[in-house]
């Protein structure tokens, strides 16, 4: 049980961090840079909000399978594969919410910053800084997606006991075996974890640490 909880946090936490590290700069760039096809890229990022986790799982499965292009890595049915699949889901979400947050700031502050003599690079970091609450929200949404997702980790992880079984896949299994009590307990644990994580992040927000 403890191992399942730890693995859930590890997989969702790591994929969220990857999502943040890639998604925040990506979202900032899309929001602030002018380039051809920018609107298309933005629409695409928002479309990925609704990207089905099972489809991400299937694609990552095909890529990581021993008959697939990255099969030599041996990541299929390991936590690494699960992290990769979830990162595929989380990056666009973090990028998408970051775009929205940064754009709001842009409208308010761009001229002010330029008037104060900021160059492009300084302006970009100022914009992210001013949009930090929104960026943190982006990361929280990404984590919420990762910790609650079942389709991708089930396909790529295989729900192997002690190796790749996380809270959501354990709930699926317990339900199919009619262990409704265990399934419900796991569901409550999942909810409590999400609550604790979000409460901590919100505290960061409200105390102005971030």
């Amino acid at each position: 049980m403890l191992q399942i909880v730890a693995l859930s946090l590890f997989v969702a936490g790591t994929s969220t961090l990857i999502g943040a590290v890639l998604g925040v700069p990506l979202g900032t760039m899309i929001a602030l840079r002018r380039f051809r096809g920018r609107n298309f890229v933005r629409t695409l990022a928002f479309t990925f909000y609704g990207f089905p986790p099972v489809l991400a799982g299937l694609l990552v499965y095909l890529v990581l399978s021993h008959s697939g292009p990255l099969g030599f890595l041996g990541w299929l049915y390991t936590p690494l594969g699960m992290i990769l699949a979830q990162a595929v889901l989380v990056v666009p979400i973090v990028a998408g919410v970051t775009i929205s947050a940064v754009q709001v700031v842009e409208r308010r502050l761009h001229e002010t910053a330029l008037t104060l003599g900021a160059d492009e690079r300084q302006w970009r970091s100022t914009a992210v800084h001013e949009a930090r609450l929104g960026v943190l929200t982006a990361i929280m949404v990404g984590f919420g997606r990762a910790i609650s997702e079942v389709g991708a980790v089930l396909i790529v992880g295989g729900n192997i006991a002690g190796q790749t079984r996380v809270l959501t896949t354990a709930i699926v299994l317990d339900t199919s075996e009619a262990n409704y009590l265990e399934a419900t307990v796991l569901g409550i644990i999942l909810f409590v974890i999400a609550f604790i994580v979000f409460a901590a992040l919100q505290r960061l927000q409200s105390e102005g640490v971030v």
Partner: protein, 298 residues
Amino acid sequence: MASGDITRSPPPFPRFALQWRVAFALAAVLIVAGLAFSVQSQTASSILLATTTSTRDTGLLDFLDPLFQADTGIQVQYVAVGTGQALDMAARGDADVAMVHAPSLELTFMARGEGLCRSSLMYNRFLIVGPASDPAGIRGLTNATDAFRRIWQTNSTFLSRGDNSGTNVKELAIWALVGHIPSTTNDSWYLETGQGMGATLTVASEKGAYTLSDDGTFYALESSLSLQILVAGDPFLFNQYHIIVVNPVQHPNVRANASLEYAHWLVSSRGQALIAGYEVAGHRLFTPNYNPNDPGVC
């Protein structure tokens, strides 16, 4: 843009940037830890078994595998899916060994050279289960084909796995004998769950529908279901399980030696005796029937 003449620097990023660096470092540490964990779990002597939901849902694997590990030091990790998908995992080289129950699919798999060897392991029986009210009136029939024909003729709700599992393959074989292969588009009484045996039984119980189940999964779940055994004992409902080791010539990455050890252990007198002694709720679920004279045994 002039950049040298800024007198008022933007709000304090240093702290912000530091937090990003911390987050990045944390991510790196987690990824390295994950790598270490993953590499360690692979180098530790373990094999990956692709198997069917029935061997998991009955608890058989969780009973046998720790004993195998105690005997040999080899850990068995398993992914439980339908037989069709399990054989596909094996054919992709994603599993080292398969424990499955659809002889027709298995023979195709072996004919393609994907398997190194295949041994008969054990059998259990399929049951036709349904609601106590038995609207099709099949209770007590001894012929599965007759029972299915009555379900069809009375348009009684029937739940198919619909997932190319061993049970699904057997079910379709019975419909072929009936002479009417139902489809979800033309037969409104015929539904597919696309899920494992346990989930399908639960849905059948809720909907008051008939379904075909292996006896092991049914006994394991019986107490939580409002379903009864209506037809059993037809020799056609015999459900044979085989253990297949994936061919390392086709898939050099598979751990064939450890897998062979697993196959040999399962068919050894110890393995077969453990299978024979395994009970759930007072029912013996599997009958071992390894035959060393079968062609191509492990």
